[in-house]
Symmetry: C2
Subunit: 516 residues, 2 copies
């Protein structure tokens, strides 16, 4: 026993226990998200915690691969390994390779790859478009810090098998509706990777030193770091990669085009592009080549997407003066999103600290609390090419932390409306109480019986800490008169109820509960 008691009883670092109070608050958020998913016609899907390691590796970039939790094979996983392979862990690659050979299965890292695997596996059974939502935990071996856990809940909604831009619009609206209900001030940033790709190609024509295989994914990975390390370092990195420095300056200017309320006036965004790409007069400091003028841009498919999205936003009433109290929807040409698989519209939700300050007199330091985008070829890696897809994700744990910091849980509905506790005043009364508890539970009232005849103040303390609303008392005195006392623990009001007949007891009990 001595050894046992020195065990570490904390959950592992980055993992958490959730008590009733926290679960209640988490479920409050989850139910709002789930309800919005269902209103939009999404159907639930659940995939297993473990996937074959092969399915997961190579999908999240080299850094992501390292963070996948691998599960040691049952039986003897070492049996088929030669001693040499055990020795060879000299490089990160050989180490990962050894780990993979010992672990056929791994914990899911997100909900997108399992979805792609599910869709590819069931492609002949599914009716497209397949709109699914999935609310399940995912696991990553990241170093834990504020807002970053090793086990956290993702709430994803995806549409597979439809290229229609109205889905892109409905997902942005879904984001807005959820945060509006939660009363979290947010900025929903939108961009189209086409703009970035266009710009990358433009830069590359002007920068002969950039390697040909430097593609959009790598480009996005670099510029996505701007938020963390600043533009100066990103610029240096790009120049080191061979980009012409004037092109890098131009890129920076493009990425930092002012964000603005997206829909209040579509003209603004189009004007901005026109100006930037030199169709209008005011662009003297940036020298566009003919190939990359505004007129060229409007013929690109990403520009059609851009305009179509505007159309859907207008139709859904977003062009009203102030469609939301808590949400701002902005176009941000600087938004890249690091993930490999995005191909069209990308979006990201961040806390709007300006509004937080005004409304709640506080500010929050927190990364993005949601993100998503269009990935038009995700299932190709599982043998099913040419399937359009788009999805968004809510980061439940960060949303929770934000709501906690903004004290937004203070106004949510209480956990229990009418929980009843029978106090223990000795054996005779206890037996009667036990009998009544079962009558009341059958009628749907959550109730409980204090198990031992402890001092009343201790029983009161118990009832208070578990938020019981009503207490019932049956002591010897009550037994002799065939009655009980019921008390509202919040208002202190109390009443005597006769136990002569069960029907009368139930009647009087309901009456007391309902009026309180």
């Amino acid at each position: 026993m001595a050894i046992k008691s020195i065990l570490n009883l904390n959950p592992p670092s980055g993992f958490r226990d959730f008590n009733a109070d926290t679960i209640h608050k988490r479920n409050f958020i989850i139910n709002i998200i789930k309800n919005q998913f269902e209103l939009c016609g999404f159907e639930p899907l659940e995939t297993p915690a473990l996937e074959y390691t092969d399915i997961l590796t190579g999908k999240y970039g080299p850094e992501g691969d390292k963070l996948i939790f691998r599960v040691l094979d049952s039986g003897n996983p070492f049996e088929h390994l030669k001693p040499e392979s055990w020795q060879d862990i000299s490089t990160p690659e050989s180490l990962l390779s050894l780990k993979n050979r010992l672990a056929e299965k791994s914990l899911r890292y997100d909900l997108t790859i399992p979805l792609a695997r599910y869709v590819a596996h069931n492609i002949n059974k599914l009716v497209l478009p397949f709109k699914r939502y999935q609310i399940q935990p995912v696991w990553r071996g990241d170093s834990p810090q504020k807002g970053r856990y090793r086990e956290f809940m993702q709430c994803d909604a995806d549409i597979i098998g439809s290229a229609s831009l109205h889905h892109d619009a409905e997902l942005v609206l879904l984001y807005a509706n959820v945060f509006e209900i939660l009363k979290i001030p947010v900025t929903i940033k939108i961009n189209h990777r086409g703009f970035l790709e266009y710009f990358l190609n433009y830069c590359k024509t002007q920068s002969p030193n950039v390697e040909a295989h430097f593609n959009l994914t790598k480009f996005c990975n670099v510029i996505d770091k701007a938020d963390k390390i600043g533009w100066q370092k990103v610029s240096q990195e790009l120049v080191a990669l061979g980009f012409d420095s004037s092109m890098v300056a131009r890129l920076e200017a493009f990425m930092n085009l002012p964000q603005y309320h997206f829909l209040q006036n579509i003209i603004i965004s189009i004007d901005t592009l026109k100006q930037f790409f030199g169709d209008e007069t005011d662009s003297s400091h940036l020298e566009p080549t003919d190939n990359h003028s505004y007129h060229n841009i409007v013929n690109q498919s990403f520009y059609t997407d851009f305009s179509e999205l505007h159309n859907y936003f207008n139709l859904s009433g977003l062009s009203a003066k102030k469609p939301f109290e808590y949400c701002k929807i902005v176009w941000d040409f600087g938004l890249a999103r690091g993930l490999n698989y995005y191909s069209g519209i990308v979006m990201e939700v961040v806390v709007d600290n300006e509004v937080c300050k005004t409304k709640y007199d506080t500010q929050i330091k927190m990364g993005s609390i949601g993100g998503g985008g269009r990935y038009d070829n995700l299932t190709a890696m599982f043998g099913v090419p040419n399937l359009n897809g788009i999805g968004i994700s809510f980061g439940l744990d960060r949303i929770y932390d934000v709501m906690d910091a903004l004290k937004l849980f203070e106004n949510i509905p209480t956990k229990h409306q009418s929980k009843v506790i029978f106090f223990n005043l000795g054996e005779v009364g206890f037996n009667k109480s036990f009998e009544l508890v079962h009558v009341l539970r059958k009628l749907g009232y959550p109730c409980e019986l204090f198990p031992t005849q402890q001092k009343l103040d201790k029983q009161f303390k118990y009832a208070e800490s578990l938020e019981y609303h009503f207490a019932c008392f049956i002591g010897e005195n009550e037994i002799s008169k065939n009655e009980m006392i019921i008390k509202n623990l919040r208002t202190r009001e109390q009443q005597i109820i006769s136990l002569e007949t069960q029907a009368n007891f139930v009647e009087a009990f309901k009456h007391f509960i309902n009026k309180n």
Copy 2:
């Protein structure tokens, strides 16, 4: 791509994907169990998927230890291992030891040990008795077979810190209520390990060859196998362990005392014991020693428990002629339950095939679908001794399989009451539909828009397969008249709704939905 497409896209063996239909049915069961838990005053708890391996090992017996899924440490888990330890995997023990050193964390194997860890960790914060329920998946590396999965959902309710027998009674009633609502015919078997312990000691006094350290746990492990391998083999094993063969015969007779409806008459059970232990005349074939007569038994604490439980059952109305339609509660002196930590009352729920035959004209081959018992010293292993506990568990996945086999899902409420789909009849109508979809979603109607202008029969097929209840049509004709057609897809009834004003549209829409 060629390599990728030969990936195995099945979930790993023993793991499953759940589609919307299955999730709906699983949630139907979960919600009923959860509701009963909450009626009895249990509060939710969630613990992480991963626990420190140290916390889990040594709790489930040597077989259980092998089935724990260990998670390879992040970084380089091999770094601190000497090459020798890698070589030494010659015995099952050294293999497990190596695995444990590579895996600080493991997937939870049940919900009971995490509960014990949580209680020990938070003992100073918790108000006792602590009534918690927990509904989460657990993972075991067992070989998959019918009714046995590697990822399965447990639904547990436990009471920590109370010795009162009324909890034992309330948990039996909770079982009965759940299966009554689900309409699954079951037998809830109850026993008290005290009877077995008493009998073991009795046998040991008569069997000098039995080793002194052959304790109740080992004894229960042996006799628990009777269901699977038959009494004859269990008898042989006990004789091989040194038990006197006449004692073994007597044990068998005891274990096979007739099961009977527990509460219909408490006298039966007491009479049975009296007869068996020779207090009455009719026990000539069994020669009790003085020490183990009925009079001796009634002085034992387990006998007090036994009587007290009878008392609570009587109080809760269980002594009525036929308190349940689907559940039988029986006392079964042969019930052992294999788990190490049980100390008092044990219980187990099995499908009652006799009633299945009568009511559903079918029979089910399935192990226990629920089980539990009293474990009065569970947290001692984590340094907190002398804490009483009792708990039960529902095996969701087996309950699901049973309900599926009995076709009990046919009568549960449908997934969606009033899902609406707008068919796609071309761009102009689509834009109008998109606008209306957002109006209706705001009002709380789940609705959807078919994304492409496919042939109508294809759109009908889609609506049917996703169980849409209503369809709306806005074609060019409708646009020109500023109206739409709404149709009930089940009754085929349809109506024209004017789109002149939004208020009128909403009014007419609601009217049509409500009357259908």
